[in-house]
Structure formats: structure tokens, C-alpha cells
Amino acid sequence: MSGGCDTLTEKLAVGARLVFSEACRLWDLDLLELGNWADRVRFRLNPEPRVTYVIDRNINYTNICVSACRFCAFFRSPGAAGGYVLDWDVLSAKLSELKDHGGSGVLLQGGLNPDLPLSYYLELVSFIKNSGLAVHGFSPPEIFFLAEQTGLSLTDLIRRLMNAGLSSIPGGGAEILVDRVRRQVSPNKCGSSQWLEVMAAAHRQGLKTSATMMFGHLETRAERVEHLFRIRDLQDDTGGFTAFIPWTYQPGGTDLKGETKGAVEYLKTLAISRLVLDNVPHLQVSWVTQGPKVAQVALKFGADDFGSTMLEENVVAATGVGFRLQREEIETLIRQAGYEPQVRDHRYHLLPE
């Protein structure tokens, strides 16, 4: 065995921070070894044998989007058939349903719709907030787009959304934070630096956010590691990321096509995320893309969070992948893996039963 490899093993054994070249070499380790190291980091950062999840629902307020990302099967271009903006009665009914399920908040995301003014967004946020639910809303591409539309600075826009009731930002739209990849898969969407700028502006105002990575399309494994490093670097500055959520590209119905990555690649990527992101507290499984079985196994590969109940999921479902889980099923999956389920909110605060 080479000296370099021993050094990597030694660093993993003591939990030392990995440099880029070391992180790239993690791909050479076998699945079980990666899982074992990742599990140690998981218990160092989250020593309790519990797995958290949030009772929420997805609300996609519009599918009209100018971005036309090649991996997306959800959007409709402005003027195209099938485009919608959710009407208030439907929204209201969705909120009531969530409250009946004991939900704490809404994951609110939509397309980059050029016809919606700032007042719409502010009204949407305060409407949900006033119904007694937290708003985990607007991924960085939406915020960046709205800042451009309104001419407001990111900081001012985020402040106004916070004043309207926004309580945290989901980490969507990150895809791969490498512009070579973004130019090919989502050329009309904000670039990687801009995505990070939005998150930095949010963190600096005390707004917590998550971060995601959609992998398994045109990126290399080294570019996945680059993505992780950009998140880790910003987290060193701001400390505002709560959780990281990697998930696999789903090709059904998209322009980009191709095959989805398998479960072993998913688990390896998950474990490597845990090992690189030593400063992000939580790691979330993606049962929506992996299904309940792999999601359960993922709890042994560094993850400590089972995501959310969702109630509805439209974006991944548009690719033809349609896993659904009830709250009771989530709890059973967690218990079978040997952990105690624990409800949290979107800011990862634990909630009483």
C-alpha cells in the first residue's frame, strides 16, 4: 500500500480535514470502508442514535420557468401548454391539509416565472406564515432571478422576504457547482458563484439554508468533490448551512436523457459528502430518488436525517420516479435501522411530539 494511502487512512481515523486530492482518492475506497468512516463522522457530529425528519409538504407555486434546464421534466416555458400559477384557494386547501397532518412548514419552490411581481412573492410568504406554518422557500436561482427582475440587491431582497415571514431557504438549484457543467445542463440559470452569493447573503442575515447536489449526469467525480469543497468553504465563512442533500439525476422525460446512477454510486457519494463536509451538521437521505429501501441503508453511510413527508412531490415525479412515504412508514424505516425517529422543523430544531 502506498504511503499516500496510509496518510489518507490515518487522517480518516483521527477525523482530520481532507484536502482536495485526498477527497478525490476516496472514490478508490470500497463501499463498506467508506460507509464505516462516514458513520464515524456521523456519530461524532450527531452522537445521539436518532434520525430526524420534518413533517412538511412541497408546494410548487408555479411551473412556468425561463430557465429550461436540460435535466428538468417539470417546467413549462412561458406561454406553453400546461403552465400554471397556483391559485389561492388551492394553496389554502394545501395548507389546511398539511396542518391536519401536524406539519410545521412548507417547502415552497417554483420556476423562474417572469410574470410574477415581487408583491406576489411577499404576499405568498405572508399568507403561508399567517396560516401558522413556517416558510422554507425559494432556492437561490429563484432569489437571484427575482433580484434581477426587481433591481434589488440580494441582501435587500432577502430582508424583504424575511420581513414577510421567510424562515429558511432550501438548497435547491445547486445541481453541480461547477460552471463547466452548468453551462451544459442549465445555461440559463444562475452560475455557481451566484448560487453561493445568495446563500452567503442569507447566512449573513441569520437565515439558515440547506444545500443540495444533483449528480450523475455530465459531471466527473472530481467535479462532485469540487462542489463539496465550495460548500465547505462557504460554511467556514458563514456557518449557515444546516444540512447537505445529494440526490441522483433522474432522466425520465428530460432533454438531457441518459441513465440514472445506481445505488452503490449514490451511497459512495453520500459517504464522501459526509467525509468532506466536516462542518455541515446534517446529511439527508433522498428517499424520493432512491426509494425507501436504499434510503434506510443510507442511514449506515453517514446520513442522520430522513428528509420530509412531502405529501406531494412534483419535480422528481415528472421524471416518472414516484416514491411516496407516509409518516408512519418513515418512522418504521428509521426504527428498523436501529435509530429513534425525531421530528424537526426546517431549521433542524427538534420539535416535541
Binding site: 470500497d30 463501499l31 463498506l32 470502508e33 460507509g35 464505516n36 458513520d39 441513465e259 446512477k261 445506481g262 445505488a263 452503490v264 454510486e265 451511497l267 432512491q290 426509494g291 425507501p292 429501501k293 436504499v294 434506510q296 441503508v297 449506515k300 418504521t332 424505516l333 428498523q336 435501522a337 436501529g338
Partner: protein, 364 residues
């Protein structure tokens, strides 16, 4: 010396036994099932798997034919079986079976896998003519047909000994027996779930009679319903003892119970963690079985891929038109292409090897 990658100290003595190639005891089996350390158990199974097969993972280009679901047994865990005349009951005529074979005559199929119910009325000649007719159409294809349960049923119907029944089937073209119908050997479980079915002793007797006639067989265990850990371990130990005597088992295939549409639909079926542990522990306990197979139709392609890192060396085959598990609600596809199987194996870090039924390598 401590084995890296094992967190549970209770696994340490088992690690030492595995490293020394010693046989594991029943108590070791209980310890393995009781361990929280899924990855540690997997690591031990990988030691055995790598010793036997390196990083090779086998698959087969096969066709499944489920000739009839009419069955006298009425096992509670089954969604496939129907009584004669019941809604959904079917039996394929010989010409229908031959059409299924002819439809795929252009494909490089090396095995046809034939399983059905214990039919009350079909004559023994139906089975013999089925084998002969398929062989006449595809002489090069290996016929893996009729579980021990079906064979015992045929022997009884034909009023012949098990050995004579198997000889007649062999003369008609039978190449080997699939491993189904073993369920769990525990009398407690069987009296509750499948009281009419062939006994464990009868199942082992058929398998061993086949071995003595130079017919290989597989073995299975249906798990995740009402059996205990001790009953699983006992099942594995009984198979290991039978293999010591006759040596004809090729592969062991743990079958995850699928509850939908069965008499046990209130159950949830085994968890993914249980699936992986059971596969890994099978690899560790069955030291005299060459192969451990993950049947992807039951586990799903994703979990089957992961299982290649937990002691499994075989993912079965292309299949197409599997009915038994799909009638129990399996959401898996009807078939996988060779390319999909190869990609799935490669992504797990293994080398895909196409095999025939007897695990002879098919040249690419």
C-alpha cells in the same frame, strides 16, 4: 488483531474464525443477526466472497416460465397459487409453452427456468412432454425446472419413487432443480403457514436424490414473515449439513417475503437492512455453498447491486415475465437487459461474468 471496519466487538471472535476459515456455529449465527453493525457483518461476508470469487459477479441470460398457478397447497405467504376453478387460475397448454419458447428463439438464452404450482390433475406425461418439447426446439438450452415440492408431488401422483421420478425427468431433458419451496424449515412456522406443503425432510430428500443422480440444485429460504432468528439459523445449518453429505447445491437464494395479496398482507416484509444482513450471514454460515444469489426481482435492482458488497456473487438473470413475485406486489421490472445487468455489476466495483446454469463462463 482487530479487523478495521468492524465496530461491534462481538464480531471480533467471528472475524478470527472467518480469517482462519473455520466453520461458524449456530451461536455465531445468532450473534451476527443480533449485531447492530451492518457494515461489519458485510465486511466479514466480503472476506469469504472475495476468497471464493474475487470481484467477479455472475449473471445469466434466462427465461422464466410459470406454467400454472393452480396448486393444492394454499400456502399463506403465496399470492400466486390458486385453487382449480378459482378466479385468476391458469394453466398453460404445451403448445402455449412452446410458443413462449419459440418467441424468444433468436435470443442467446442459456437457461429456461420453469416453476409452477402443485397441480392436482396434470398427468406426469405433461411434464415429461414439456421438457422434451422444449429440448426439441432449443437443444442447447439448460432446463432448470420444478422445485423439490413439485417433484415430490409428481412422484406421489405418478406413484413412483422420488429417484425414479427424477430419472424420468432427467431423461426427458431436466438439467437441474431450482431452489424454491424450502420456505423456512421450522415445523412451528410451517404448521401455521403451509401445513399442506412437503416437509423439510421431504424437501432435503428430493434435493439429495437429485444430487445423487448428478443433478445440481439450488436452495432458498423465504424470510421476513413470522420466523425467528433461531429458525433462520437452523434453516442454514440444515442446508449446510445436507450439502456436506451430497455436495450438489450450487447457489443459496434468500427470498425476501412480499406480503401484498398474500394471506399475511398485514405484515410489512423484511427491511432493507435485514435483506443485506441475511444475504451476508448466508454467505458466512453456508461455507460449503459455492454461490449466494440476490434475486433482483424480489430485492429490486438497487438493493441487489448493494448486496454485491455484502457477500453476494450472483444477481440471477434477465428473467422476463416473472409472475410469482409480481403477483405479490413486487414493483420491480419484468426483465433487465444484459447491458443493464452488466452496468449494475460494474458500478458496484465488480466484474460482470455471464454464466450458464452450472456456472460455466459464457464467452463474451
Amino acid at each position: 488483531m482487530n479487523m478495521p471496519g468492524i465496530q461491534d466487538p462481538a464480531l471480533q471472535p467471528i472475524y478470527e474464525k472467518v480469517a482462519a476459515k473455520q466453520r461458524l456455529s449456530r451461536e455465531d449465527g445468532y450473534t451476527l443477526f443480533g449485531s447492530f453493525d451492518l457494515l461489519g457483518v458485510g465486511r466479514l461476508a466480503q472476506m469469504v466472497r472475495e476468497r471464493l470469487h474475487g470481484n467477479k459477479a455472475y449473471y445469466i441470460y434466462n427465461q422464466h416460465i410459470n406454467y400454472s398457478n393452480i396448486c393444492v397447497n394454499g400456502c399463506k405467504f403465496c399470492a400466486f397459487g390458486r385453487k382449480a376453478g378459482e378466479a385468476g387460475a391458469y394453466e398453460m397448454s404445451l403448445p402455449e409453452i412452446f410458443i413462449k419458447v419459440e418467441e424468444r428463439a433468436h435470443e442467446p438464452i442459456t437457461e429456461i427456468h420453469i416453476v409452477g404450482g402443485c397441480h392436482p390433475d396434470l398427468p406426469f406425461t405433461y411434464y415429461l412432454d414439456m421438457l422434451k418439447g422444449i429440448k426439441a426446439r432449443r437443444p442447447e438450452v439448460h432446463l432448470q425446472a420444478f422445485t423439490a415440492v413439485e417433484v415430490a408431488h409428481l412422484a406421489q401422483k405418478a406413484e413412483m419413487s422420488v429417484a425414479d421420478t427424477l430419472s424420468a425427468l432427467k431423461d426427458a431433458g431436466l438439467g437441474s432443480l431450482p431452489g424454491g419451496g424450502a420456505e423456512v424449515f421450522s415445523p412451528r412456522v410451517r404448521s401455521s403457514l403451509c401445513p399442506e406443503k412437503l416437509s423439510p425432510e421431504g424437501w432435503v430428500e428430493v434435493a439429495q436424490a437429485a444430487h445423487r443422480l448428478d443433478l445440481n440444485t439450488n436452495a432458498t429460504m423465504l424470510y421476513g414473515h413470522m420466523e425467528s432468528v433461531a429458525e433462520r439459523v437452523d434453516h442454514l445449518v440444515r442446508l449446510r449439513e445436507a450439502q456436506d453429505e451430497t455436495g450438489g447445491f450450487l447457489a443459496f437464494i434468500p427470498l425476501a417475503f412480499h406480503p401484498a395479496n398474500t394471506g399475511l398482507s398485514e405484515l410489512t416484509g423484511p427491511s432493507a437492512i435485514d435483506d443485506l444482513k441475511t444475504l451476508a450471514i448466508s454467505r458466512l454460515m453456508l461455507d460449503n455453498f459455492p454461490h449466494i444469489k440476490a434475486f433482483w426481482v424480489m430485492l429490486g435492482p438497487k438493493l441487489s447491486q448493494i448486496s454485491l458488497c455484502f457477500g453476494v456473487d450472483d444477481v440471477d438473470g434477465t428473467v422476463m415475465e416473472e409472475r410469482i413475485t409480481h403477483m405479490a406486489g413486487a414493483q420491480t421490472p419484468q426483465g433487465l437487459t444484459r447491458t443493464q445487468l452488466q452496468a449494475m455489476i460494474r458500478e458496484a466495483g465488480c466484474e460482470p461474468v455471464e454464466r450458464d446454469t452450472l456456472y460455466r463462463v459464457i464467452a463474451a
